[in-house]
């Protein structure tokens, strides 16, 4: 699914205001909790999904909607009043609640506009 674009160096950003360090992102070691969560992504950024720490029922639904490991995901907008996230995965647009997005680990954050 050749939609993942190589992150250009100047566009590569780190963990926003949540992460104190400004170093480029790295792949989390196996078994280690990912540094960044999908819920922390800002509008206009895209990232690669690294982990899905959700119950099996939700995992099946998310996978059927295209959210699986290694897949690029773009955040189009964040809902008002801590509302859901508007995401695009491949050719599918979906919304995901922040609580659920907080269970999805990501890396390779790129600003796509």
């Amino acid at each position: 699914m050749a939609s993942s674009t190589a992150p250009s160096r100047q566009a590569r950003i780190s963990g926003q205001h949540h992460s104190p360090s400004q170093t480029p992102l790295q792949l989390p070691a196996p078994g280690q909790a990912p540094d960044l969560l999908l819920s922390e992504l800002a509008a206009g950024q895209s990232a690669t999904i690294r982990s899905l720490a959700v119950e099996p029922g939700l995992r099946h639904r998310l996978q059927a909607l295209g959210l699986h490991r290694g897949q690029r995901v773009q955040l189009l907008r964040r809902g008002w009043w801590a509302g859901p996230l508007h995401l695009r995965i491949g050719m599918t647009e979906m919304m995901l609640r922040r609580v659920d997005a907080a269970r999805v680990g990501i890396d390779n954050v790129v600003v796509t506009g």
Binding site: M1, A2, S3, P56, G57, L58, H60, R61, Q63, A64, L65, G66, H68, R69, G70, L76, R77, G79, W80, W81, A82, G83, P84, H86, R88, I89, G90, M91, T92, M95, R97
Partner: protein, 428 residues
């Protein structure tokens, strides 16, 4: 052609994710003479209709839309129970061609059932418009299944689809060297079913579950490999208009007021057009009653109370209710347009934050809104919800939205009882 298997009507089930135009395709393929089938062990009604395949008769069963064969929603369980309890000759998998990048997953899962399968990629026109290119021969080869592009909406590719289904039903008919209709797990012979492989339906359900669980781990890699070889997505999202509209419609501040203004306009529009038609219709019905029915009844010389019952009771009662029909019709039309435009899913996004604080979600709000059209499909729509609590709560809330028929009755009653000159409204 004259084999014994050809005499028995074949049982074909269609399967697909929600919003793939599955029901439209079902109606187009069968000519929409569908009836509700009775299937053992299922608590839901499945639509079924006969499918004519050039001399071979078959029954096509429309299974509920599912995301995942191993999913945990009510519909997904229904499909599993159906597969376990019913002998199926062929599965037709219907996928949205423009979203093949994620929907192929279901085809791969169905493939593991080992049943003869035909894959139909619906909404082929939309995929082309969005710039999704699919290498069909390569996809056929990778899947080992016949794959066809169709467009249910425009009726394209339906003849070819019928032929492919016919061929897959009787592999002997196809030319030698053509695609094998069986999946890679061809241990199960063609036209057998999962039901015949084990003792009881419960055991079969488990074996199906186990078989799917076994391949679940390698599914993503296999899917990625097939997609990389066969499907090309557009580098840029082409639908600029949608993006620009979304910027306004999903605006954090303007979004909700805009939505409610649109709904207000819709209701106002329906009543602005519907009420005069309603008045005209009731006027005509009244004239017909007074001018034609009343003299007719009088000429029969029936007792006065029978006369009154027929004219003032039966005729006027039915007349009053049927005068509501224009408004109900307009309402269904309007809600159908709004639903198909995709605005309702955006409303779910806009309302989710508020509904979450009420223990509901954005979908509950949309279903309540659809309940203004008719409560029954709205309550049926809760089946996609995975959480039982949420589903039950939504079901209990939906009846509070007055459906278009009830709303008319309420307005009628309100106008009758609460007019300024009515005794109930007099202060003294």
């Amino acid at each position: 052609m004259t084999s014994s298997a050809a005499c028995r009507p074949a049982t074909i089930a269609d399967m697909g994710m929600p919003n793939t135009g599955k029901s439209t395709l079902f109606n187009k393929l069968t000519g929409s003479h569908a009836h509700i089938g009775n299937w053992p062990g299922l608590t839901v009604d499945l639509m079924q209709a006969s499918l004519e395949l050039g001399g071979r008769s078959a029954q096509l069963i429309d299974l509920p839309g599912i995301y995942d064969l191993r999913g945990h929603s009510e519909d997904e369980a229904v499909v599993r129970r159906f597969l376990a309890a019913t002998a199926i000759d062929l599965v037709v998998v219907i996928l949205n061609a423009s979203q093949l990048d994620r929907q192929l997953r279901l085809a791969l899962q169905v493939q593991e059932l080992g049943l003869p399968t035909v894959v139909l990629l619906n909404m082929a026109d939309e995929a082309k418009r969005f710039g999704v290119t699919i290498d069909l021969p390569a996809l056929c080869e990778h899947l080992g299944l016949p794959v066809l592009l169709v467009s249910a909406k425009y009726g394209r590719g339906l003849g070819e689809a019928r032929q492919a289904i016919r061929k897959a039903l009787d592999p002997g008919l196809s030319q030698p060297g053509s695609l094998d209709a069986n999946g890679p797990l061809a241990g199960v012979p063609a036209s057998s079913s999962l039901a015949s492989t084990s003792a009881g339906p419960a055991g079969v359900g488990e074996s199906l579950e186990q078989r799917l669980a076994l391949v679940d781990g390698e599914l993503p890699q296999r899917m990625a490999a097939i997609l990389a070889a066969t499907v090309q997505l557009p580098p840029q999202w082409r639908d600029r208009l949608t993006r620009r509209l979304d910027r306004v419609l999903l605006h954090p501040l303007l979004g909700l007021p805009l939505f409610f203004a649109t709904m207000l306009l819709m209701f106002q529009g329906i009543y602005a057009i519907g009420v005069p038609i309603q008045g005209l219709l009731s006027g005509w019905l009244n004239q017909f009653g007074q001018g034609v029915l009343a003299p007719l009844l009088a000429s029969w010389g029936l007792p006065a109370f029978v006369d009154g019952f027929l004219l003032e009771g039966l005729y006027q009662g039915v007349g009053t209710v049927s005068a509501f029909l224009p408004v109900i019709f307009l309402f269904f039309l309007a809600i159908g347009v709004v639903e198909d435009s995709g605005y309702l899913s955006r409303a779910a996004y806009l309302m989710d934050a508020l509904m979450e604080r009420l223990g509901l979600d954005g979908r509950s709000f949309v279903l309540c809104l659809m309940g203004f059209g008719c409560n029954v499909p709205a309550i049926l729509g809760t089946r996609v919800m995975r959480s039982t609590g949420l589903r039950l709560l939504t079901m209990l809330v939906i009846p509070f939205s007055l459906c278009s028929a009830r709303l008319n009755v309420f307005l009628f009653m309100a106008a009758a009882f609460f007019t300024p000159w009515h005794p109930l409204c007099q202060e003294r």
